[in-house]
């Protein structure tokens, strides 16, 4: 005992110091808000100790006078002292993860409490848009995920962190380049509306994805009619993001988090080496009936086999481009806390990811500051400020996409061509396509494309609590967003080696001869303002809450792009004289809406919600601008009924039936000012008599008859809790029916000769239908705690009606009709095998290639003659695949948490099925576009034993005999040989952590938590694309895309 006291006396100094610091910080913020006067009037002082279930003192637990904001926190010994307590008050004791207790004071001066673990951790109250709501009383399909689940990832952006966490949210990481987003959708309905701290920021992923994951307190997803409260832009569901705030009367808490990890590609195909390349080229000539000797003689081929002489060596393009074990780092520090009259959360984070390609990287810094203060009784004001600065660095390689070029070089580069002339690194070789020579991929050599994306937000809000359940709130935001990009492609020389004279020769026409400098600056200003009233009242068994709000926003986008050709690589400045082009673009958006919602429940048994939004958009003609988007939902908590309690009450802790129906809108098929008769400026141009004249063009007919697409969402759901809340089910069936999708009214056939077309009208309809579910179980055996959660979503859309479909014949209807059919079906040939011999081809009755099988060789693909006409043609294509670019129609995930004492293990699997990948271009056709070939496509092929001997035997392989770059050949047509239906499951995340036990922490004085972990992401995947060495989530059919990375990192969290 004495030892313990000693220890405290030692540590006191330290914690005094840190406490003083914290008070100093708090005082600063309080004085900023001009709240110096604090009034106290003594009545009674209560003190005591709060312990956890293990009888250890709880540090930082909250003690509040029930129903007031008067409160305090426990100190390091778990002790508290609270003043200003009336004798008949109650005290409320709470701590994160514990069940809150309310104890009447009854005049006592000392109250000790032991808190129990809460079965409902944190997710009790969730953000639902314009207010919060208890999960128990929610009657719509809303899911939420809390910060702890999000931060358990090596993802750099929130969308990737969200993938797999919630049923109904589907995702596809089609591009893994640093800084790229994961395409998340709600129920496969399209890009959702993102709302950050109550402010709709649009359907773009940018703002959301540039947030720091650590700063997010919770993410709520509105999946059904509940989204209608966001009206005209809510058709694809809404993602509500809430950032962290401090807790009033909380002790200052400072956290530092970080990790360091290594990345490698999950998969990328291998390419041929020099000898394989030459052999495949020779085979191609043989297969196409040519003479391989015109390419290389057998002697020359032998030299390629040996590969020692310059000119006959083999070069590994992949190894030259792709690096291994590339670092990614992350660091965050945040401070949060509060006083009786103010709260604060301040956070700074930085994530830094080098790409697996050299000289490509991504780095982002986030600053978030959320502060509230009470000015006078009932009036609280607050500010949220955030700054997001993302830096992307790339090489300046000529071509459409800077990231694509290095990947293209792997498959496009001829392995018999050296990177450097005579392998001398002073002389970059003039290869057949210099943009795809890995030797140029060097920032100092080829130039760079760097961009900086900055988003600054300032939000101010004020809330007045009238004290009888009514609150009024106003909020305003000013957002400023800047993107600066410089693309500087250097000029450089390339060389060839003249072996005869041992000289390096160059030519003015080799290399990159001109400098390309592009500067882009875009800036956007978004403004937002809202006023809101909320009312909560409990009258006996009736609970009523209501919201009324008005909000409006606008956004002004400007972009200026300049292109020039400076004379040298050293001048990174655009001058007027050297400018080649200048683009100036501008656009505007403006919106406003009135919002109302009423929730009612009777003893939390019967739940009813009615809401509506009257929403307006600038994009429509003045008389078509405003629309009403209503929704209602109802719920019945059957387990609250006595008959249920009496019979099944022990088994079911929760049993809720939910139904919702509502309407949302979406802007489609129209752009700003389409409703005005007008001329467009800067449409074409001409040099007339030596003078440049900007073109003016009459626009088409004004569009005044179109309005938004109407979306009717229906949802039927059930929530079941069993085994005292350990086992939970959630299951939903849903439909979103869209009517009024813009289409042409083509029974009014305007002659083409009128020279204009009728504007689209709201005519077509479709539906997205599906089911989703989640099951979770958590339990504990002694010190071993575990939770398992699985979720799955199946969602697919079909066309319901098109406007008066007309089909010229039954085949046209079969092939082209969309009515009543699932959307995005892939029509391909049905490959029924491969020719096994020359004889089989000669005796084959079906004209497989449209050329009487004259182009067929053993190993070539045979297609099913579906219509039996003896010739394979477009009529024989059948629906065999799903969409190739969209999110998988079915997604699933399995999330597991295991902990034993201080150890904890999390394993997250996620996957998808019903998606199709089309193996195309570079990975389908050998030597596509005069490039090289992936190895399996060039080596595991049907071929003749000797490329120089047309009588030599055929040797079977997996893939058809090579025809170099012959994209038109029947083998390379779309068939299920190349269209792969992908079902995959991947270990998305696996984390093992160790937290220092309290017994050690308590010796460290002031440190509340120390946790270290090892985390691995994308460790493996089971899927049919493994044999092609392709990542299952990519969608680019040529595979020229940055695949997902496998990453191992080690990190820590410290809180003090």
């Amino acid at each position: 005992m004495s030892k313990r006291l000693n220890y405290f006396s030692l540590s006191r100094k330290k914690s005094d110091f840190s406490r003083n610091m914290k008070y100093a910080i708090l005082f600063f913020f309080m004085s900023v808000f001009g709240t110096a006067g604090l009034a106290f009037s003594q009545t009674l002082t209560v003190s005591g100790t709060i312990l956890d279930p293990d009888s250890q003192p709880l540090i930082g637990a909250t003690v509040l006078v029930h129903g007031t904001t008067n409160g305090t926190l426990t100190n390091v010994s778990g002790n508290y002292t609270i003043t200003n307590v009336a004798k008949n008050d109650s005290l409320e004791f709470s701590f994160v993860g514990m069940e809150t207790q309310v104890i009447p004071v009854n005049g006592r001066a000392k109250i000790d409490v032991a808190l129990n673990l809460s079965s409902k951790v944190l997710d009790d109250i969730i953000v639902v848009g314009y207010s919060t709501q208890s999960k128990r009383t929610i009657s719509t399909a809303i899911s939420a995920v809390q910060s702890e689940e999000l931060t358990r990832t090596s993802a750099t952006n929130p969308s990737a962190a969200l993938a797999g966490k919630i049923q109904g949210v589907t995702s596809r990481a089609a591009d893994g380049r640093p800084g790229s987003n994961t395409n998340i959708q709600i129920r496969n309905m399209g890009a959702p509306l993102f709302v950050i701290d109550g402010i709709p920021v649009g359907q773009g992923y940018t703002t959301f994805d540039n947030m720091a994951i650590e700063d997010i307190e919770s993410i709520t997803v509105l999946k059904d009619a509940s989204a209608a409260i966001y009206g005209l832009r809510a058709s694809n569901g809404v993602v509500l993001v809430t950032t962290k705030t401090g807790t009033r009367s909380d002790e200052a808490k400072i956290s530092v988090n970080g990790y360091y990890g290594f990345q490698n590609f999950t998969r990328f195909p291998d390419v041929v080496n020099g000898q394989q390349y030459v052999l495949a080229k020779l085979q191609s000539i043989q297969n196409q009936g040519g003479n391989p000797n015109t390419l290389y003689t057998p002697d020359q081929y032998q030299k390629f086999v040996e590969g020692t002489e310059y000119g006959y060596k083999s070069y590994d393009y992949r190894a030259a481009v792709v690096r291994n074990n590339i670092p990614q780092t992350y660091i965050n520090a945040n401070a949060s806390g509060g006083t009786k009259r103010a709260t604060y959360y301040l956070s700074v984070s930085n994530v830094n990811q080098s790409a697996i390609l050299k000289d490509y990287s991504y780095s982002r810094t986030n600053v978030q500051s959320n502060i509230t203060a009470s000015l006078v009784k009932g009036l609280t004001i607050g500010s949220k400020m955030s700054l997001q600065v993302a830096d992307t660095k790339m090489l300046g390689v000529s071509g459409s996409d800077e990231y694509e070029a290095p990947f293209k070089s792997i498959i496009d580069g001829w392995p018999i061509q050296s990177f450097y002339a005579n392998d001398n690194p002073d002389y970059v070789n003039e290869t057949h396509n210099r943009a795809y020579n890995p030797a140029v991929y060097n920032r100092d050599f080829t130039g760079f494309e760097d961009s900086k994306f900055t988003i600054a937000n300032l939000t101010l809000d004020a809330e007045y609590n009238f004290g009888f359940g009514l609150k009024a709130k106003a909020m305003g935001q000013y957002m400023y967003q800047v993107r600066e990009m410089t693309n500087f492609e250097y000029k450089y020389k390339t060389y060839k080696y003249d072996a005869l004279n041992d000289k390096y020769i160059t030519d003015p026409n080799w290399g990159n001869q001109n400098v390309f400098l592009e500067g882009l600056k875009s800036f956007a200003v978004a403004r937002f303002l809202s006023f809101q009233l909320t009312y909560n009242k409990k009258l006996n068994d009736h609970n009523i809450s209501a919201v009324a709000a008005y909000e409006r926003s606008d956004r002004d986008n400007n972009e200026l792009e300049n292109v020039s050709s400076p004379p040298t690589n050293y001048i990174q400045k655009i001058t007027f004289g050297e400018m080649n082009n200048m683009y100036d673009t501008w656009s505007l958006e403006a919106r406003a809406g009135f919002i109302g919602r009423i929730n009612y429940d009777y003893r939390q048994k019967y739940l009813l919600e009615v809401l509506a939004r009257y929403d307006g958009s600038y994009i429509y003609a003045p008389d078509k601008r405003w629309g009403l988007f209503p929704a209602f939902s109802a719920g019945w908590r059957v387990n609250q009924e006595n008959f249920f309690k009496n019979s099944l009450g022990n088994l079911f802790s929760d049993f809720k039936l939910r139904f919702s129906l509502g309407k949302t809108g979406s802007e489609s098929g129209v752009s700003a000012w389409d409703y005005v008769p007008k001329f467009n400026y800067s449409q074409g141009n001409a040099i007339l008599d030596g003078v440049y004249v900007t073109g003016v063009s009459p626009a088409g007919l004004p569009i005044t008859n179109i309005s938004w697409v109407n979306n009717i969402s229906t949802n039927l759901g059930v929530d079941i809790g069993m085994l005292k809340g350990r086992l939970n089910f959630q299951f939903d069936a849903f439909q979103r029916k869209r009517t009024g999708i813009p289409a042409g009214r083509y029974d009014i056939l305007l002659p083409s000769e009128v020279g204009y077309s009728l504007p689209n009208e709201n005519l077509n309809s479709d539906a997205t239908v599906g089911v989703e579910g989640m099951v979770s179980y958590k339990g504990e055996v002694g010190d071993f705690r575990y939770s398992v959660s699985a979720n799955a979503t199946l969602s697919r859309s079909k066309t319901l009606e098109t406007y008066k479909p007309r089909r010229s014949n039954s085949w046209d209807e079969y092939r082209n009709s969309s009515e009543g059919r699932w959307n995005s079906t892939a029509w391909v040939y049905d490959c029924i095998g491969q020719f096994q011999s020359v004889e089989e081809i000669e005796n084959y009755k079906i004209n497989n290639d449209g050329k009487a099988n004259s182009t067929m060789l053993p190993g070539d693909l045979k297609y099913r003659d579906v219509n039996g006409d003896g010739i394979i043609s477009g009529f024989d294509q059948v629906p065999l695949g799903y969409a190739t670019g969209s999110n998988p129609y079915m997604s699933y995930a399995l999330n597991t948490n295991l902990s034993y004492k201080a150890f904890s293990l999390s394993i997250d699997f996620s996957g998808g099925t019903m998606q199709t990948y089309s193996i195309g271009n570079q990975v389908r056709v050998p030597f596509y576009s005069d490039g090289s070939a992936v190895s399996y496509m060039a080596t595991d092929v049907w071929h003749q034993a000797d490329p120089y001997d047309n009588t030599s035997a055929w040797i079977p392989g997996t893939y058809p005999a090579i025809r170099s770059n012959d994209t038109g050949h029947s083998n390379y047509q779309n068939s299920d040989f190349w269209y792969i239906n992908v079902t995959y499951i991947r270990l998305k995340n696996c984390e093992l952590s160790y937290s220092l036990p309290k017994s050690i922490l308590s010796k460290l004085g002031g440190i509340q938590r120390v946790r270290v972990y090892v985390n691995g992401s994308n460790l493996f995947s089971l899927d049919p694309l493994r044999k092609f060495k392709l990542d299952p989530e990519i969608s680019a059919s040529s595979a020229l895309v940055y695949p997902q990375s496998r990453m191992i990192n080690t990190g820590f969290n410290i809180t003090f």
Partner: protein, 615 residues
Amino acid sequence: MKKLFIILTVILLFVGPGCQKDWLERESRTLITDDKVWNDPSLILGLLANYYNSLSFDESNDNNTNMARYDDAMWSGSGDGTNKSTNFGFSTWTLWSYTLIRNINKSLEELEKYSTLSPAIKKQFSAEFRFIRALHYFEHVKRMGGVPLITTQLIYNFSGDVTPLQIPRAKEYEVYDFIASEMDAINNDIGNVGSQTRANKYTCLALKCRAMLYAGSIAKYNSAMAVPIATDGGEVGIPVSMAAGYYQKALAAADSILLSGNYSLYQKNNDLGQNFFEVNNVKSANPEVIFAKDYDYSKGKSHNFTQNNIPYGLKEDNISSSVTPVLNLVENFDYLDGSDGALKTRTVNNSDYIYYNALDDIFDNKDARLYGTVIYPGTKFRDENVVIQAGVKIWSATTNSYTTLETGDPGTLYTDGGIFKGSSGPHRTQANVTSTGFYIRKGLDPTKGASTRNVLSSTWWVIFRLGEVHMNAAEAAFELGNVPLALQHINKLRERAGFPANSLSTLTMDKIMKERRNELAFEDHRLWDLIRWRKAQELWNGDNNNPKAMLYALYPYRVINSSDPSKNGKYVFDKIKSPRLLYARYFQMGNYYSQISSTVLNNNPKIVKNPFHTY
């Protein structure tokens, strides 16, 4: 009191910026409303700029792929371009573009209705609008035959009844007549005399001249076919009786231009080959060009013809050498002594090669227009050598034969230190290197940097020039039986190409066709000429062994023959089928008039389809 004050301040803070009248009513910064256009001549000029820019042609500097589609050139760029087409699709030349017609009709009506500009200015703008409309109709009629002639806005009243808007196709000759009468009606109002980029009186006459020649030859040669191509309503096919009238109008229009004295043939450079190249390329004080589409890199309007077609060895960027002329065209140019243009590569008894000292010796004394049109081996462009050599032929005394070596990259040396493969090819397979042994010169911009992506080329695209007017006059005169007049015109052009005075004394239609091909190669004439002469299906019959339908290349080699110094180091030539061309050109009867799309047919039941088409 203090509390109330604070609350009021906070309320004002938020409500203050919230006051704005109608939040959703916004002004655009980039749109012009109707009323602002018609009283502002600079905006009307903007409309004209848009309309001039909208004109499209089959072959042009910004659509060079089509130059490689016929029998003057093939495709050596990346991809297969036109090399793998087994035939021409019936929609290859389909044009049914009424948006421009509607925009012009709308402009004509609204200018009249809303503008308060002076009548003279309105008249001049109207005339210019009508010229563009007529040229656009000409582009239609030569592809489609008769099309609906729409000269006013067709306005749909949303009643559901569209029959008043359904206009049938005009007869083919009605469209030609419309062009003629429009040109007659406007050529005194249009002004712009001296301009080469806006239409003037002579531009109108040049259009009329060409259109009338087309109409005349269709009347004559279509009727001469075994089974003339025609529809019952005359939408396609012109009665033979009308031929002479059209030829007379063509000749008269040509005469008006020639007699005006406003234009003359370009003869400024004593180097006749270079002079012919300059006919299309020189923009300043060029007396021959009547009408052209102009470009100016400094103002951001440039085209990539030079980038696409610069010889491989001279390229400044990643692309080059797309349209490469073929031997067929090169041999169409006669020798200046009047002998046939076939290149002499073998001895008379075909026992051996003919050995040339220099690569260009084989082209000596050719029609100077060859130099101005084609870059052939041994010549320069941009004052740089274009080295075209396929490989080496090594003589083996033991086998008494040559071994041909040509595999390797362009620009490599052979073990003897001499050139192995020219820096500009040719190469049988490599994209962006000629596979025919030739490069296009006509239209190529010699300015340094013109083949780079950033700068591109500012050369103009000539639509009408006096050389064509001479050719038109010659043909019209010949068809009208006035051979001396025809010879006068043709010999004038031949003289400029280096032939002696009066080099031709007799004339046949075949000779006119040959001259026209030489004079106007790559100027969007070859296809249309063969169509109006009804020659296309005969020449391009899809037979891989037909020398007129198949395309050929010329591959030069350096001879290495240590045993015979008289041959060693000299050059020999192989004529081969173009390696990258798989199929001979195949023009079918259904190509004479292009297919009208099913959408157009569905939208207007009064439109009849063209012959030989399933719909």
